[in-house]
């Protein structure tokens, strides 16, 4: 194939913006299928953690007015997205370090193909983890307490949160270009994950921690999903209505995606 003889050799056909991300997504999913240890770890950890929190820690954490499993399933859904994000960032860092990204960037494919394709593949994995978490929850006593519209909105919002976190982890992977460095960045994420409303009612925390724990994004994500999935059952442990949480959550997502997305694109161009 040569550029000679094309009317607009410097332009790509519109179809490339669909076919190429799908080709990259296919590669990601094939990779996942070929390294089943990664896939298995990612998809069994929700089962493990949910069971652990339900039967081991849950008994010691009273949540007034609702069962602990109902309280913790939304947190688990958000936690999945963060754990999977690290796998994704490490993979991207490896590609960036190994020269694979250089090769992809030298091909006549849209510059967006790589990130869009990875986002698609990550989304499918996130959906699988979400299904596993909800199913496990249902087996060990979790129940939806909201209407179908609210539940659908909650799951849709998880997809939005997942894509938002994708930009964060893409930026990390592309900036570090080294899987070990990516792993070394887990502590701050654990801080956000555990100093949050995810696993304990925030009211049990010392006062100076409460302000952070109530308002940091991981808490907002969790409480939004909680408001939408648990409905009235969770209303008394939440600060806002489901609608208000949704707006705050979307605002966080927009802000985070704008900053992290710009950083990811900048690193990608400068690789």
């Amino acid at each position: 194939m040569t550029a000679v003889g094309l009317a607009h050799p410097n332009r790509l056909p519109a179809s490339a913006f669909v076919t190429d991300p799908l080709a990259v997504a296919r590669r990601q999913l094939l990779r996942l299928a070929r390294t089943p240890q990664t896939a298995i770890a990612a998809l069994t950890s929700p089962v493990l953690f949910l069971t652990l929190f339900r039967y081991v820690f849950g008994g010691a954490i009273p949540v007034p007015g609702m069962s602990y499993v109902d309280y913790v399933v939304p947190a688990m859904l958000v936690q999945n997205l963060i754990f999977l994000g690290f796998t994704s960032a490490a993979g991207l860092a490896q590609d960036a370090g190994s020269g694979i990204l250089d090769r992809l960037r030298s091909l006549p494919t849209p510059r967006s193909s790589l990130l869009a394709g990875r986002a698609v593949a990550d989304l499918l994995v996130q959906l699988a983890a979400m299904a596993i978490t909800v199913d496990t929850g249902l087996v060990i006593g979790f129940r939806f307490h909201a209407g179908p519209g609210s539940i659908a909105a909650g799951l849709a919002l998880l997809v939005v949160i997942g894509l938002t976190l994708f930009t964060v982890f893409a930026a990390i992977g592309l900036a570090t270009r080294n899987p070990e460095t990516v792993q070394s960045l887990t502590p701050p994420f654990f801080l956000f994950l555990f100093v949050s409303s995810g696993f304990i009612p925030v009211a049990t925390l010392p006062g100076w921690l409460q302000a952070f724990a109530r308002n940091q994004p991981v808490s907002i994500f969790t409480d939004t999903v909680r408001a939408l999935l648990d409905g009235p059952a969770a209303a008394h442990v939440l600060d806002h209505s489901a609608g208000q949480y949704t707006l705050i959550c979307l605002a966080w997502c927009t802000g985070i995606a704008a900053v992290a997305g710009a950083a990811a694109l900048r690193s990608y161009r400068r690789l």
Binding site: R11, A23, R31, R34, D102, P108, L271
Partner: protein, 325 residues
């Protein structure tokens, strides 16, 4: 006909490091240019600019008449890139790697499959094609990497130190493949640290040092400027060294160098023209028994030495002024 690859006054700095300090080069369609230089000479930076991965600070580069900065997609349609990294995916099979890259080189699904199969056959990779790449040897991976750059039949191939880390057999084989590609009309720019590689493959050689082209010409011209090959003779009886030196005297450009302890005599001879045979014949006529004879090929070092010793082009002395030890 305008050259397939044109590089005009290209500068590129990383912070205070001047990776490229004004490079002008061109490569005619269907020829191989060997870009010779040490680590840090700027070879990879130049390849990255041609591959549209990095933008020059100043100057311009064109491939097939398309500017790498303003028409990058058109340039990407023309080039294949393979490098020292073997940028193929470990977890995927060889075939899957090629098919996905084929799709990203604007081939349809069927065309990508057919071209991948054809390239795998061409590169003798059909056997391991359906094994994950992580099971491949280093040479096999590198061959797949080269194959991967060719799925879209690019008319221009950029090879960044393609033989680094290959064993001699794999290296020869790669050379054959590169020559075949050139014969079928592909324009190739390849970087190397090895004079013999440039000499074997390239129609033209450019020597890059500290971001400047310090010499440019046909390999034969370059070699002419290199002066002599050195033939190192190890004697079966070290005591013969005096007679050996005398016997080789007429052949050697300068008096043969004797290392009595090692039992070797080193003669400087004009390259080619049966020099080695002449050395052996002279020693045989003098009835001196040999343990070993080796020809020391000129190296990249020798090129630099020859270029400093040679009267200037100005760029040559400037390029070598800050030479690192």
């Amino acid at each position: 006909m305008s050259p397939m690859i044109e590089i005009v006054g290209v500068h590129k700095s990383y912070g205070r490091v001047h990776a490229l300090a004004g490079v002008d080069l061109d490569v005619a369609a269907g020829t191989i240019l060997g870009l010779l230089g040490h680590n840090g000479a700027g070879k990879t930076t130049l390849v990255r600019i041609l591959a549209t991965l990095t933008r020059p600070d100043r100057g311009a580069a064109r491939i097939g008449g398309f500017d790498v900065c303003t028409q990058p997609v058109a340039v990407r349609r023309l080039i294949g890139l393979a490098g020292q990294n073997a940028a193929v995916d470990d977890a995927l099979t060889g075939r899957e790697n090629l098919e996905i890259l084929g799709r990203l080189q604007r081939l349809g699904g069927r065309a990508a499959r057919q071209r991948s199969a054809a390239v795998l056959d061409e590169f003798d990779l059909a056997g391991p094609a359906d094994r994950p790449v992580r099971t491949y040897s280093g040479g096999l991976r590198r061959r797949l990497d080269l194959a991967a750059s060719l799925v879209g039949r690019p008319p221009v191939l950029l090879l960044d130190e393609p033989s680094t880390g290959l064993d001699p057999v794999a290296r020869r084989r790669l050379w054959e493949q590169v020559r075949d590609l050139a014969r079928s009309g592909t324009t190739i720019l390849l970087t190397t640290q090895h004079l013999d590689e440039a000499d074997t493959l390239a129609d033209g050689v450019a020597v890059l040092d500290h971001g400047r082209v310090i010499d440019r010409g046909a390999p034969a011209d370059l070699k002419r400027r290199l002066g002599d090959d050195r033939v190192v003779v190890t004697l079966a009886r070290p005591a013969d060294f005096g007679r050996a030196a005398a016997a080789l005297g007429p052949l050697s450009a300068v008096a043969p160098v004797v290392d009595a302890a090692a039992g070797t005599v080193t003669a400087s001879v004009r390259p080619g023209r049966g020099a080695l045979a002449a050395v052996v014949r002279l020693l045989d006529e003098a009835r001196i028994e040999l343990a070993d004879v080796t020809v020391k090929q000129p190296t990249l070092e020798d090129v630099y030495v020859a270029l400093t010793g040679a009267p200037p082009p100005a760029a040559s002395s400037a390029g070598l002024a800050g030479s690192r030890s």
